[in-house]
């Protein structure tokens, strides 16, 4: 994503989300599979973010 300073607020170009350099692909390990499963379980179990008061 490239941000250009227009006359008002920065103009967001919509080419694609900025993407960090991709690391060399490593073979998937058992730990990765376990992490994937864990992430999927967590996403199923937790609610959407709910409104809260501001703070400080």
């Amino acid at each position: 994503m490239i941000i250009k300073h227009g006359g008002m607020w920065p103009v967001l170009e919509t080419d694609a989300p900025a993407k960090p350099t991709v690391s060399p692909t490593k073979p998937k390990q058992k730990e990765d599979d376990e992490l994937d499963e864990r992430v999927k379980r967590i996403i199923r179990e937790i609610p959407d973010p709910t409104p809260q008061p501001g703070g400080e």
């Binding site: 994503m1 490239i2 941000i3 300073h5 607020w9 920065p10 967001l12 919509t14 694609a16 989300p17 900025a18 993407k19 960090p20 350099t21 991709v22 690391s23 730990e31 990765d32 376990e34 992490l35 994937d36 864990r38 992430v39 967590i42 996403i43 179990e45 937790i46 609610p47 959407d48 973010p49 709910t50 409104p51 809260q52 008061p53 501001g54 703070g55 400080e56």
Partner: protein
Amino acid sequence: MIRPVGIETEYGLNCEGFREEIDFGYEASMVVRAARVEGAFRGWDYSREDPYLDLRGTRAERLERDPKDLRDSTAKSSKMSAAELLANTVLPNGARYYNDHNHPEYCTETCTSLKELVAQDKAGEHLLWTCQQARNESARDGRVLVVKNNTDYHGRSYGTHENYLVPRELPFQRLVDGLLPFLTARQVLVGAGKVGCEGPVAGETLFQLSQRADFFEEKVGINTTARRPIFNTRDEPHAAKADWRRLHVIAGDANRSEYVTALKAGMTGMVLDALVEGVDFETDLRDPVRAVKDYSRDPGLRATAETKSGKDVTALDVMEGYLEVLESRGAEGEERSWVLRQWRELLDLLRSDRAGAGDRLDWMAKWNLMEELGGVGGLDEATRRKLDLAYHLVDPELSLYDSLVESGKMRRLVSDAAIEAAAGDPPTGTRGAVRGLILRRFGEHVTNMEWDSVTLTLDGRRFEVKMEEVLGDVVDRLDRIFTEAPDMAAAIADIKSGGKGR
């Protein structure tokens, strides 16, 4: 020894399944009051606090409130006394734990070691998790998930503040000029990452570096709950006012990464060290308020901001400039050397192989995780937000940060044993150690506490032990007195006699 620093974190409460309208004040209070910590003191002395005092030498007539803030129910909290609602607690490790603006807040004691700071901060996370469990086991209504982040993703923010002790003789404008570009750009290393965009000037960003950047509207100011400034001017030193300022940094995120917590405090402390010693970083930005958002909203790290001399600089450029000045000065001590090494290594990684910084940087860890699951742009918004929220949950069974740690994808800086010890022991060498010592040995005599004093009662008489120095001779002397005195009367007598040359 690093520049004295403490971190205060307002935790979020993600509430679900409530039959009645949620009373956040009540819920925050119940979470804090769920703490079962032996030797804690319940109470706080507000008599000398004045958040209206401004570093610029004035006193604000009022502090801004966000007119769009959530107006929550007060059905339960209105029936509580102020003491019940605020639930002020001083823990044996010197930390303050209470309900601040409807959020449980954990404030570490002042630390002079980065590892101690991380351990104290992590002890707070663990405490909040135990409180979440206790609250959910005992409450009749709803489930509360405690989250160490800074946004509800609905346009409202709560803070994570760092507090640095700096000499008052350092001119205010020099402090502002020297720090503003740094505070604007440091998110490239210490941002916690956020899905989406919100706040007064929202854009269409899918993912950004910082949880907080969206909410900054001014360069310099005293407000903290609305019109938030990058440089906050609150002047409550909680120490000898003639000698010290407490630099109240509100332009920072709630970090889960131990490396980032240490790096954030270490880098900022070293910039302050240099400013105190007269170093000029010769960096400025024409519009930091715009830059803080531009930098945050471009995880590609190509966004630039204009300097006053007309040069376009990225956040990496700004951080490189600060680092080069500090590298040229050299580092005193092991921890400062560590900070410079990590700062250099991570900047280089962000320029060459950014994904490789994901084993230390919160925002990059989140990004990598989303990439593995289909890409930030490929995931639907609801999943992205849940992933973001889950990263910050303090429940290790539900936390994505903890999942990454367990799978060996995030580096640790302190051991579980150090965190467990920090839950009971204050950081060493500061007045926090004295506060903890007094609580441990003479807790039954304590009738009030604040950051720079402890009030003790003995035989119907009150004695206020002033601790206006954060560290040094007076603190060392008090430490020896409260360690060696056989009882409270002997300690008081020793203090009144001037410590008998201790």
